[in-house]
Amino acid sequence: MFVLIPLFPLIGVLLNGLLGIRFFSKRVVHTIAVGAVGLSFLASVGSLAGLLRSAEPIIVKTFYSWIPGSVVRLLGGRAASVSFDLAFRYDSLAAVMTLVVTGVGLLIHIYSIGYMSHDKSCARYFAYLNLFTFAMLILVLGANLAVMFIGWEGVGLCSYLLIGFWFTKDSAANAGKKAFITNRVGDFGFLLGAALLISVLGTLDTAGITAAVESGSMSKGLSTAAALLLFLGAMGKSAQIPLYTWLPDAMEGPTPVSALIHAATMVTAGVYMVARLHALFSFSGTALTVVAVVGALTAVYSASMGFVQNDIKRVLAYSTISQIGYMFIGLGVGAFSAGVFHLMTHAFFKSLLFLAAGSVIHALSGEQDMRKMGGLRKSIPKTHAVFMIGALAIAGVPGLSGFFSKDEILAAAFASGSYGVWALGLLGAGMTAFYMFRLIFLTFYGPERVDPEAKHHLHESPNVMIIPLAVLAGLSIIGGYIGLPHVLGGGRWFAAFLASSTGEHQVQLAAGTEILLMLVSTAAALAGIFGAYVVYLKNEGRPAERFTARFKALYQVVAHKYFVDEFYNGVIVGGVLRLGRLFTWFDERVVDGLVNGAAWLTRKAASLSMGFDTHVVDGAVNGIGTVHRLLSAGLRRLQTGYVYNYALAIVLGIVIIISLVVTIL
């Protein structure tokens, strides 16, 4: 059953991509695309049902022996048969991921019908969307790292295609390139890690790796190395420090694309991968610590930039980076299921936020700068309502899904003793609340700063866009309850469900401590909201301006994203360019010099040979003539005409002959 899940989007891609661009009308394209994802979603639900019913938690289905087995000598000296198959693995983790991808994807596809109604490259867009869905599904269903990598690269490609969808715009094309190339750097680490695993364990199978690690056939050092290399790939895909710079620029793409790829699915691929290989990461404690620390730092760092961004989508982009940091914190402290839990809830509210932002932009006929918004609460009330729900969820207000997932992560961090990580997480939570509500207040409240021209066209979005928003809002509210912790009366079903694929993780905390932690994080969230209220609503941003004026340097640094992009451009890109110029110089001077030198040598040799020809050869020929002339001049003297000279000659001849005869005889 679960094999069908990626099949429908594939069909959708082929139909829309090959035929749709030319032949199909918009309605047909929409139907095919949405229908494909819809069917895929149904298949996911069906597969989940099957999984819950069946006794085994894991199903693996092999299609095709991709690289047949060959005996290789591994790093440790053992001989093993290494082979890679095209195989899918369906377990609880895969079930969750497929449901999220297809479910949220379906809603975004429906939303896109409305959002992209003006665009003429409709078929291409939906083909790409389907292709992306297909690739993502391959990624999550892969039974080994090789198949996962196919999906990994596939989503990378699709993000390039979709970010640069309006490729005629230079900034969009560049953003697409930036995303792909930055991803590539991460993929480099992924491949190295995979190679290391092959050489040590002889397998890339999830099951095989888990078994091998647990049986101890890998040293701590090697497992750390492999884990960190793989994490490098995750950093690229999931936009953590230092490979995050592509995500803010990726906002050049259409907003639904941002929602799907950069909120709900692709950026979470890294989280998924770490969760899949939890055995490897757990075994190497160092790697886990690195994951947690990177996540924590990213969370805070990125949140700080959300304070000063003026583009509505960019605030959400930095928010995404920050929230993924939270997921890694969860993974890093060993609470793998907590990280995945946050992944799911984040998919709900972040895509909700993005789509709602898209709705705002659509209403304002393309305006994205928050400084030109304000007071939209009255004009687009439905958008405002769903937006508010999303903001509350992400801020971690109790009762909504975000609270449960974020809290589980923080509790796990606290419980594992990583108090530094916990502290950073708490700080980040507060910051998240602050910048999120800054966005809300700037956009929907306060005086209207809208352009008169845009104001003229101000209208609520069509239902086809509102309905997915509503569904997502609902999910954002209730989605967290399946992970309700014990202490609040729940059964932690989610974690239990995931235990079969991500390992058990018991939070050893006293009930009282846990409640205390919850209160602390709630306080942080409320403090953030209140702060935003004070600064932006009550005082209409004046405190912010005063702060900016006093700490101008700090503001400049943060506003310019800590100049990281400039750093990368200068050092890495510039370095590569300089290297290229060096090689060009080398080529021109040395290689061309050699070639020219060879040509010069040839010319010299030719002139030498010509000289030889004229002087020596011709000289010899002329010399013969000269000798001849001299000889004949000399010999002519013999013909004196004097008879008696001839007589003398006769005598001379006789002398010679007789001498010869005498000597020979």
């Binding site: 013909q639 005409g641 004097y642 008879v643 008696y644 007589a647 005598v651």
Partner: protein
Amino acid sequence: MIPINAVFGLGLLIFFIGLFGVLFRKNLVIMLMSLELLLNGVNVLLAGLSYHMRSPRGSIFAIFIIIMAVSEAAVGFGLVLSYFRQKKTYDMDEFNELKG
């Protein structure tokens, strides 16, 4: 018995004296006379060989040589006479019509 070496020596002497005469004299007539000396010298050699070998062959050959000498002298003198009529001189140095 006359030693063969003596005959040889005689013959050679006469021969070479004649050779000297042919090469060294400008006078045409004397040159021709020296030619006769050459031939005489050869005849002496031949006679000596004939004596030594106790065979008449040598002297027969000498007879023939004498015949040759006579004929050659006759013709030669005819040439000399006609040449002298043209050139009015016997100086060998003047005989250079062949010089080209």
